[in-house]
Subunit: 319 residues, 2 copies
């Protein structure tokens, strides 16, 4: 079997057909149409074996996660997902592995109406690159440079669960069976906040997804917007499993710095607080006010009593 | 230095700014606008060290080639290039290597008006994934399924030079210094046939770029279009260096099967022969009639005297 039939067999029909795709897998390029009045939003990300995941990871989970990473970037811009392309590098042709990968990818793709329109399959060290493509009405994207002093800082879901799972998996941290089961599911099967982002788009000033840790990612908003932030650590949303597994100060530090959460961090005017709670509680998604954008540059973490809190870890850096 | 500043330092300003790019490197997604009436054409390709190139290759040549691969796919659809995204996996942070890579990429990007709009930089085994994005007026793309019996089969430039360079580099085939110099330049610094493709678009029925060898790539047109082809081996366009380095039958076999040419293969109605020659000779690009599309399926190579010619090699297969 050669690379062409590999692509055709496993990927050509794994996702739904969209009407805006004139030509998908099987020619030199895919051909698609962007709706009038919309900008095209694109994001490309690579997951490398041994760096972003261990080679033993379930291939369905990897297919799911590779798509989540890109969908989460689209969510962070308030963009509606449309198409994906996949560049897959494999050390060998393992049909069972590929079938699992395709299943994990296609199930999530179908649930967000995403069509896989093109790809490239090569031999080499295991790595997955996906590019996601979405639409956003012209000028309406949520950017990193829109935060303003006085904005509330919100995060969806809970923070740190994936980081805790990584500590258990890579560093041997002991967790209860229940907690381990919960946080491993959060690590391996993260859910992108696509619908939540679309609901927040008319209300928010700025947004980012939390892939490198809240402190690092909120830091990008602060730098992009030329502002600072005060965050109250007692307000950080933590899952029961997470809370039960760590001392409180450890928990705050990990929630501030652990990557792979794929939750959203948004800033929005204080007067939208009730509307934000309303649109997200409709979707069953917690959305927690954790702090305030301030004029003075810098990222300030505080206890409720006003004392500074300085986390020890930093977001993951490749170099 | 972390991955963020890596992207910002080396790539953010390496290409020209386009007016249709609202937001480039530095947010969760890039935001762009496709012109009204146009389809978006996209192609993603990965080059892996040890598979597609040797680790010693000049990094400027690698940056050039990674972009050429995608530009050549756009050319094969008759699409006008616009934007690129880059997912770069590096074993270590080598500033001199990166500076060379960026220079090779950016010089070619500027010459085709391509802006690098986004990327991801990760640590891992050396690999380069690029996605190219271009525009084509709705319904006007050159596809693989448009060839019709009676069409002439044309190829741009010359065939097999890169394959000959690979034989010299990997298998120790001895070439004259002049021939080696010529074919290595063709292998390492291929030129995508973008302008030629745009000139051919109104005239051609089908097109593909020759990246896996003429026989394999023309085979995709034949399969996609449900037709066959007769090709006359004496008509295959060969460079002087190539011709001087091989016995005639070896030369034909390599010209039919060697990859990495990045020339175009197009089919077009016989009555457009003179117009095809005219539009390409204006650009100084040879365009050679090598055969005819026939109703009977299959790929038939013939000598001028009518005898069959069966090449021994096949296009490169990863698996």
């Amino acid at each position: 079997m050669n690379e062409f039939s590999l692509i055709e067999n496993f990927f050509a029909d794994c996702t739904q057909k969209r009407e805006d795709v004139a030509l998908a897998v099987g020619d030199d390029c895919a051909l698609m149409t962007v709706p009038p009045g919309c900008e095209l939003a694109v994001s490309i990300d690579t997951l490398v074996a041994g760096v972003h995941f261990t080679a033993e990871v379930d291939s369905a989970a990897l297919g799911h996660k590779a798509l989540t990473v890109g969908l989460s970037d689209l969510a962070a811009m308030g963009a509606e997902p449309a198409w994906a392309t996949l560049a897959l590098t494999l050390p060998e042709l393992d049909r069972a592995w590929l079938a699992g990968f395709t299943q994990g990818l296609s199930k999530l793709a179908r649930s967000y109406g995403v069509q896989l329109v093109g790809g490239d399959t090569t031999r080499g060290p295991l790595a997955v690159t996906m590019q996601l493509h979405g639409f956003v009405p012209r000028g309406k994207a949520l950017r990193r440079d829109g935060a303003r002093p006085g904005d509330g800082i919100y995060v969806t879901g809970t923070l740190g669960d994936s980081g805790l799972a990584l500590q258990a998996r890579l560093e041997g941290l002991q967790l209860s069976q229940e907690a381990l089961c919960y946080v491993e599911h959060r690590l391996d099967w993260p859910q992108p906040r696509v619908h939540e982002a679309l609901a927040l788009r008319p209300l928010a000033h700025a947004a980012i997804d939390i892939s490198d840790g809240l402190a690092a990612d909120l830091g990008h908003i602060l730098k992009g917007s030329g502002v600072g932030a005060a965050v109250e650590v007692e307000a950080l949303p933590l899952s029961d499993s997470f809370r039960a597994s760590l001392e409180l100060e450890q928990a705050w530090a990990l929630a501030l710095t652990a990557g792979d959460d794929y939750e959203l961090c948004v800033t929005a005017p204080a007067e939208y607080h009730d509307r934000i709670q309303a649109v997200l509680s409709d979707r069953g998604c917690p959305c927690t006010l954790i702090g305030t954008i301030e004029e003075e540059p810098g990222f300030r973490c505080r206890r409720r009593n006003g004392a500074s809190f300085i986390p020890q870890q930093q977001g993951y850096r490749h170099f």
